[in-house]
Subunit: 490 residues, 4 copies
């Protein structure tokens, strides 16, 4: 992990082992996973290839730790989490750098992610002490109803590589605050951010067994199955693709576990003719190309009203043409690589399909050979039947589609099976409320391409997932328990 | 349906057809299901044996109706539901009588159920107009966050025979209030309560397609599968056994549907030595033998502290010996039959097993031959390994187990995979809070055997289910939608 | 009360006595107050001129009744209030007619008021059973915090003549639902609506002493003082003018009573140049002239942006010119009289002052001699220094002021000491949020002149009052009580 | 301020000036107030004797600062307050020491107060970002209701000497978090804690004008009047005696300001015969004698059930006899002086009156001459008519009264005009709920004498005050604003 260590102030944040019951450990088999920098395709380190046995140990450790952690006061957990929050701030630059090296995103985005990631630890620390229960008016004389909130138990956490740190804290923060213990399976592409986070949690004093990490790549099916089916686990939380979400959901059914799933997006981005053009162009550029298009809330289908279509296309083309692709550590880079060559292949497939269907390439339109880079691309006149309109591209390709009426575009926007985020630009207050209500998505950005904040209920409808993270999301890690007090006498 | 009609004031409440898109219809195949009175084993009528095709039609009708119903104001739905509530009150006696005839429970319990059933229509009507969203403080200047609640869509409702009316209204009330439309599959044992309810909803003016009913028995697998897998359905809600709950859950996974599951119980009932003995005996008698033990919150395992064990056993035996078994329409009857002979067989199996393991029969202990009746039974010194301690008996058998310490009994109580309700009697305020918090169940009765009210969050932990009904349960039929307003300017 | 009875279906709703401890009674002095129909100036009946002694008796009765009413279950109160709600619906036409006869407003507005009035009884009945307390996470091990809500005690209710029924139910509904008892002092101009309401409450079964009514005119000071200073009263709630609000507030201070005050308005109504003109003209006509301008949320100052000023003035003039003034019972009447000649005098003063300051009369501008009618009036080019811009006119006078910029008009709108409602018309979503946030008022109507609904938090800022009615307003009639449970042991 | 500085690590925390618009300033008159250490009666420093003019300047500064502070994001205020919280932790020992020196309480209590004081800054920082508004379901089609929370404006804060720091942060924390600005009038006895707090706020970066401090003693009437009547002030919050509360309330009425008043207590403390005796004796000792009885939630009347009266009296006497009175800086001191000789005089009056009425002195019963110390005192058989039972003693005198039945003691407990805190010891869960509900107080301790935590709703009923501090108390510094969005179109 020389490469990874490059430029870090505190190289001891780099961990190349799993973490079970407070101990850093190797795989029992001794096998390892090679982790590469997608900007250079160099190996930056290895982590253990763990399997079923380690997963069971991690779950057992979490289960034992739950017996005490789950009974601590919320204030105790709050204070420990605040310590972790301050450690995250202290090591902000190092953590951001690690994200850029293993994920490829520009350093400014790595820093943005770390601010976002840390915000969940702070937010949920503060939520812990606010897990109010209720006193319910009772229709029966002489009886009193109180509802308390209790932690649900051991939680399995499975996360993706596009936000290597923040997708963990959004789940782990809520779990810890609630009084749950956790087993985390980070993605094999970006494990180091996760391990550094856990190292800091250990330094903050989070007790042994409360957080456990199992790294795996080849054994992912058996590890995932155990995380979903083991009786000691009471909840599974996942961010990733819709097909995997369905798979895990089905596994969790066998023991009636609670699940939170944040699956795929395919977000519509609509520009009405009464939009502020500057804002809309700027918003589209950010919303589509952030993380090189590899976020689940990235715009995927850009609908532009006919009368302003040409101007919008021209102005967005100008903007995209100015992007500078490169290594995220280079301060002039605006857009980094995709995560690996398989990701590039999907983008190639989507662009080729669109072009074959009649779309025109206004900017970009091809990969950089022998790399994980694909040039930021703008396609015009993309038919609604094109693949890029059916599935998430998860890459730097903006597909423009022309529309005429509000009704038409709402129908188009809602024509897919998923519904995570949706965006539109319009100045008319009536249209803004109307369209916001009609879009079949969990989150709507009106005149903005950025919606993520710790306080919001993040999540989708239809096949984009179940449950909400952030905001009041701590309740998804707790059970309501009713206590009825009888026998009060006269 | 002569038998069923017996004594009704308004025989037009009896419907022997399914209900799709506002029309009463037969099965396409013409097949029917025979419904019996469990107290007499006489047929009281038939309903259609519907299948896949009718289920699809019902779902389509619900999906079309959702386009308008889902956009009505909450006040409009409130007012229609209040009309339905008043119709339920007006026809209270008839509806209670129908329950007793098809389910077997004593008329006083039938009336109790109808009061309870109607209470959910009223409660959720009132909740409809209180589906508050939120305005969230925003960390970004010039941006405003609003969260609104929207109905989730078409809901599949699958319910059991032990509360033929109330288990429907607890789900349907929430669904209607939220703006959802529904397809109901009532149990084949007790369909008439459900159909009468729907007839009254029609009279109240609930529009066509908003409520649909598919009756089925033999085709239950294909009907259930369609209700869980059809893409037009966005939520599945079920009350019944844990195995079926797991099955449906797995089916719902295929399209990432939201589920609410209220599954099996096996409730502990603990009597501490500082209990009020009168209250504890009375509570045990009610909590165990209500509905002849056929409710999911019935006491199933009765733990009594050693020093008061003998007295408690003797006094409960006295009480049980006074029960009068018979036809629920007979006003002297305190306890009715079980639902059918298969239910009796399970009880026989549990009692035989207990006796074989060393338990003593204090009262009852056998079925009434050639009937669906089993005598109210009290077993003493039941070993913790007996079947009756492992599974829900769902019958009129009270199994007494002796214990010594608080820690011991809490451990015993928590030793099963499920956790719906739990009860205990103790006067010490410290113990009351302590034990209430330690029991791994969703609902705790302290010094009371009755906990059900419309306002409470009804539901369990572990393998007893997911989600909460009643109380704030309307939110389980709604999606939170975030709307971020940007571009506010200076 | 022949005149009043004219056309009623149930003349027994007319009561000409006060109501104390469940009894209809005369003043001890035998004195009476003459009540007139403002449209005809004919006496329509009399009510007792009660004084200090009756007030004390009423408070004592309320205090005794509180001992039992305050301990009833919320469900019990809910059910009684629902009965009252249904009686209000049943007698809707009669009650509306009585409002028109004693207040003068057109019958369609009388009916509108009764719908609004009844809505508070229904709303708060439903709120009663939702007075949730809380369970608070505790930082101390072994301690549990529960917060319950309890009724505050006896409430004094003082109400105005402009909404003779609704202003009572908005307060009384909350009080009854909370478990409080009440002493009401209705206005001498419109006592019959109040007395009919109380008669129906009696018929609904509200127990004796829970509601009491003291009618007074000459003795208002001593009655009001007792209602604010008597130790048995725990809350004073008032709707009326700012000067009287201050007076009562000061009296309530002597015993640290809780107060809710809904005082004067002087609402700004702003039309921006990007408004929908049709909507803005329509909104201004309704918002300004409803109740002949005699509501506390009526527009009082109409600011119109320069570029559209002339068109707006012309179109509003057309609209106002079509109003038909007359007796509210006449179905062609659009606008009724003012409440009495003193009200006319204030309007004359405001118009004369405006004209003297340079304003032009576009429509109306004078009273109908020897009556309580003043012609609907539109003034143009009214200087900001005119009286009509400084105080509430409480009459049918629309004063138009020209403005240039958003900042300027916000400053003008906020330049008064009060802040109840404010309105503006604009289509731009950014401006809508911006101006809504900047207006120093409690309630903002954007592109609408009607804001009243039972669910909203009705009330103002600055010298327009304290507290909020409707919505969650039941909490203003309840105390939060913290219960800390210690000694839980291990 | 040599004496005050004694032992401080950072003497620059000692400020002897007022603080207006970010500047430390003297009184215009040059006059000063002498501040003494009550344990030694030595002067420990002086602060300015400010008056009307300085008060107006402070209010003006707060009003100007509100224009910007009130528009900052909640997150910005959160972060600044968190900085202040960390500074309070960093200077914890110094701040505790200052409290002991100016107030007299033992150092361990001074430290306890500082932990408590700082907890409000942290709590309300966290509350700031959780000032959720609402989206209200609307009965009118095409209209949307949103309720937002906005800061109320300039706040006047008047606080007592018994918690020189915590009583300020409980108010100031809420005010700052809400976006309000403040003018503080600390008590002349203990101004240095307040000034040190403000110095740290300045260091944390709270902008000029947001917090202002006016110190005064002789001019208190004119200063207080201005703080309550100045039109720029929108809220007055006060902790202190009931008579002063009434006075300020009356002043605030003149401009319809919102008030929060936390006034006098006179708490009952009841020991039932089923109490745990160890716990009850311990609880009484702490609850009565904390701060030498000078807290508003101190037990004032101790009712003991007849059958255990003698034992309780004997055991409490043993406990009290072991108290060690002295200078709070001495580590062996358990109880410090009273605040000044006037406080001692009131205690003497109460004890003399009780003895004259027949009470017996079991321990203590006299002052230490020429000092502000009064010996911890236990009185037995105190008649209910004694002064000590009618008024708060605010001193170290425990008055025991014998009672027989639950009903009797509840009546006695409720027989006073005030109702802040109440306590009782009993193990029976029925009695615990029953008595907790019946006591006419705002806060009840069951089996505990300590109830204060940042999360609880602190406040009383009857003449003990209005409003609640801590917990959700930030809402008392905010206005609900309704925004109705119309004109949404189809």
């Amino acid at each position: 992990s020389q490469a990874l260590a490059f430029g870090l102030k505190d190289a001891s944040l780099i961990k190349n082992q799993g973490f079970i019951n407070g101990q850093w450990i190797d795989a029992k088999s001794g096998a390892t996973i090679s982790v590469n920098n997608p900007a250079t395709n160099e190996e930056i380190g290895t982590v253990p290839e763990m399997g079923l046995e380690e997963t069971k140990e991690a779950i057992n450790a979490a289960s034992v730790a739950f017996q005490t952690w789950g009974k601590t006061t919320a204030k105790y957990r709050h204070d420990l989490m605040m310590k972790l929050f301050h450690l995250l701030q202290e090591h902000h630059d190092d953590l951001a750098r690690m994200i850029t090296i293993e994920n490829g995103k520009p350093l400014v985005e790595g820093k943005g992610e770390m601010t976002y990631s840390a915000s969940f630890i702070e937010w949920f620390a503060e939520e812990a002490v606010r897990t109010y229960g209720e006193h319910l008016p009772c229709a029966l004389p002489g009886v009193r109803n109180v509802v308390i909130k209790q932690p649900i138990g051991v939680v399995s956490i499975l996360t993706p590589w596009n936000f290597p740190s923040a997708m963990i804290t959004r789940k782990l923060g809520a779990a810890l605050a609630a009084g749950c213990t956790a087993v985390i399976k980070p993605p094999p592409e970006t494990p180091f951010s996760a391990l550094a986070l856990v190292e800091l949690a250990k330094r903050a004093g989070i007790p042994d067994g409360v957080i456990n990490v199992v790294t795996t790549q080849k054994n992912v099916i058996e590890v995932g199955k155990e995380m979903c089916e083991n009786k000691l686990v009471r909840k599974v939380t996942f961010t990733g693709s819709t097909p995997v979400a369905k798979l895990l959901y089905g596994m969790a059914a066998s023991t009636l576990k609670k699940v939170s799933l944040e699956a795929g997006g395919n977000a519509p981005f609509i520009v009405f003719d009464d939009a502020n053009m500057d804002d809309a162009v700027e918003g589209a550029a950010i919303c589509k190309f952030r993380g090189s298009g590899q976020t689940c809330v990235c715009a995927n289908r850009i609908y532009v009203q006919a009368s302003i279509y040409d101007e919008f296309a021209a102005r967005l083309a100008d903007k995209v043409a100015q992007f500078k692709v490169g290594n995220g550590l280079d301060s002039t880079t605006t857009h980094g690589p995709l995560i690996h060559s398989r990701a590039v292949e999907k983008v190639i497939r989507h662009v080729d399909d669109a072009v074959a269907s009649g779309a025109q390439v206004l900017v970009g339109g091809k990969p950089i050979p022998d790399s994980s880079f694909y040039l930021p691309t703008l396609l015009s006149d993309v038919p609604t039947t094109a693949l890029v309109n059916q599935e998430e591209t998860f890459g730097p390709v903006a597909a423009l589609i022309k529309f005429t009426t509000e009704d038409e575009v709402v129908k188009l926007a809602n024509s897919v099976d998923v519904g995570l985020a949706g965006y539109f630009y319009s100045r008319d207050v009536g249209r803004v409320w109307r369209v916001a209500e009609k879009l079949e998505v969990g989150m709507v950005g009106c005149n903005t391409g950025l919606i993520s904040q710790a306080i919001i209920p993040f999540g989708g409808v239809k096949e984009s997932g179940l449950g909400r993270e952030g905001g009041h999301g701590i309740t998804e890690y707790m059970n309501d328990k009713l206590i009825v007090f009888g026998g009060l006498g006269a």
